[in-house]
Symmetry: C2
Subunit: 407 residues, 2 copies
Amino acid sequence: MSITETPVRLPIPPLPRGFRVAGAHAGLKRNPTREDISLVLSDHPATAAGVYTTNLVFAAPVAYDRARTPGTGFRAIAVNSGNANACTGTRGLEDAAAMAAAAAAALEIPSESVLVLSTGIIGEFLPLEKIEAGIAMVASQLASDADAVVASARGMMTTDTRPKLAGSSFQAGGRSHSLFGMAKGAAMVGPRMATMLGVILTDAALGVADAQRLLAEATEATFNCVSVDGHTSTNDTVLLLANGAAGGAPLAGRDLDAFGRALADACEALAREIADDGEGATHVLRVEVRGCRTRDEARQIARTVADSPLVKTAIHGADPNWGRIVSAAGYSGVPFDPDGLVLRLNGTLLFENGQPVSFDADLVSASIKAARETLIELEVHAGPAAIRFYSSDLTAEYVHLNADYHT
Amino acid sequence: MSITETPVRLPIPPLPRGFRVAGAHAGLKRNPTREDISLVLSDHPATAAGVYTTNLVFAAPVAYDRARTPGTGFRAIAVNSGNANACTGTRGLEDAAAMAAAAAAALEIPSESVLVLSTGIIGEFLPLEKIEAGIAMVASQLASDADAVVASARGMMTTDTRPKLAGSSFQAGGRSHSLFGMAKGAAMVGPRMATMLGVILTDAALGVADAQRLLAEATEATFNCVSVDGHTSTNDTVLLLANGAAGGAPLAGRDLDAFGRALADACEALAREIADDGEGATHVLRVEVRGCRTRDEARQIARTVADSPLVKTAIHGADPNWGRIVSAAGYSGVPFDPDGLVLRLNGTLLFENGQPVSFDADLVSASIKAARETLIELEVHAGPAAIRFYSSDLTAEYVHLNADYHT
């Protein structure tokens, strides 16, 4: 497997107050230029929330974090890539605890204030010596500058070609707050998940219940609306740390709403980045489904269209193949009247009243070729619910990457 | 798009008594060596049963046949490829009726004794002049020899590389009966369907209700357990004609059971052929799931494994990547205890008790490379239900075929 890296997208968002990060190579990945251990440290005890994979086969770090969040008093997240610590049984759980203990020792904080994230190969035991040495090393490199941010985001990458970062600032309670997010994921990205891995940091003060509720809501509308290959991972986790370093009481009312919007925007940006960096992708598919009875039904239609190999290859071929899109909606399992279905591709009307309309196929094809993002809009006329879903196209490069990536 | 044809698999099964068939090129496909019109004629009025796509967006011939089956008095099936007559509105329904009427005129039989099948491009109106001329031509070529059988099966092909044929004989009521089947399908083959197109002929006498019930049962366990790309077509149809030419009363009791077994075997053989001829396929995946609470749950697990692009590319790469298979089972939506899951690949135990077992990966990889079929066995330990599901691997050739096949 050979992944060609692409430059990180600028600008690098700043860390919220009271957070430091680091990332380094500890020998889990073969290539010594690839970071594989990261640490996130909050100088203040933080409220933590988490959302996790719905896969019945879930990894040890998922079990570890899920048992501890949501809650308060958290100080750090220890991350490794190159090994997922999944399907590793009882020893995997012990290794996840050992990884947390190693971070606690290096940072001189309580073990129970550390959460862990792992991603990479499934079914191999964590190389604990390398991880312990790596954690000790990155603990001495913690910083809050852009280089540290990029290194820490690279430390959670597997086949990603670039770090995925998002950030924003918002006003609440008369104070300025900021929010930062980083994520990874390029394959085994399926729609019934949290995401691959995501970490959201904020200097806002948040109540535990609010943190968990807002993270779950944001995930539902963003990370749970992205797919590369429809394969839900064993390790999907998004963690939120809110350390209150901006000062003030836990946010409430309109201030909490302001935070919720900033959080949703960051999650949306990271989710889109994951689809954009989908293995072998040449296009991002943005599928917008409107006029459904419920958001779940809208998502089900969008997911079926976004996951269809025939739709994904058509977009790769710059082919305005409305028949594949309409027939995918038709087998989604959501009941609707096909005669009321309206399809637009990159803004051009292709289908309504149960039939295709006359359109300039060359022009639509050229519009697909010209842009990284292809917009597929479906209107169902059954109700008020809508969804936006991101996916990537299916290319020969995806096949090569996954046929050659051996266990 | 360029499809390389492969030779028809020998032997060619004989037609049951009282049936004649033909196929020819009528100008719907560009390549003049490709048949695109077929006729099936029963010399006696036959009992007809049909199963159809569950896609809400279904083609005009599906609407036409579904309104008329099951029933008695059927004499012919008119088939065209190159045009699906799907998403064609009211005019599509009129064209399907015109196609039946053209066959009736050419064969001098009642219009209401004709069923129609179409497959090919979605969203274009049938070229009725070519179809009427083609039907008149093939009506003069009807025969029961092997050449006629191959030509008629080729007349329903689209991107198939070879005709898919099955046949057998069975004893019932002290008489010898025979059964013949032909099918097409290489993409837009999804698991919640009948199949692409299938025609089953028998000289047995069958009651209408028995014919429909047995066809539905056989389809459920065979055509509904095959997938190339998970994309359910608009045109899926399997038709059964039973003309009673073997003599005797409609089959009942043990005789009906004998017919049911022959029917299920033929459907199974054709379903496997469809997976085997999946676009770009280098391997057939046979996924056997056992120990489930219900057959639907077994199928859901099998389908999720068989449709995962990560599993399909792993098999293409001859990679015994048990992590992808186990995690696909885990996100299937079927509840089970992961610690009870057992996975075998080509007979070698790879995973049990929530962990991988030690195995010779090179040997298993070599076994995948050595055979066209790869056997994935999953045991869930939750109940008595089992299923067998066929799929194909995912290759760069599939992507090329579907990115370049323009509307």
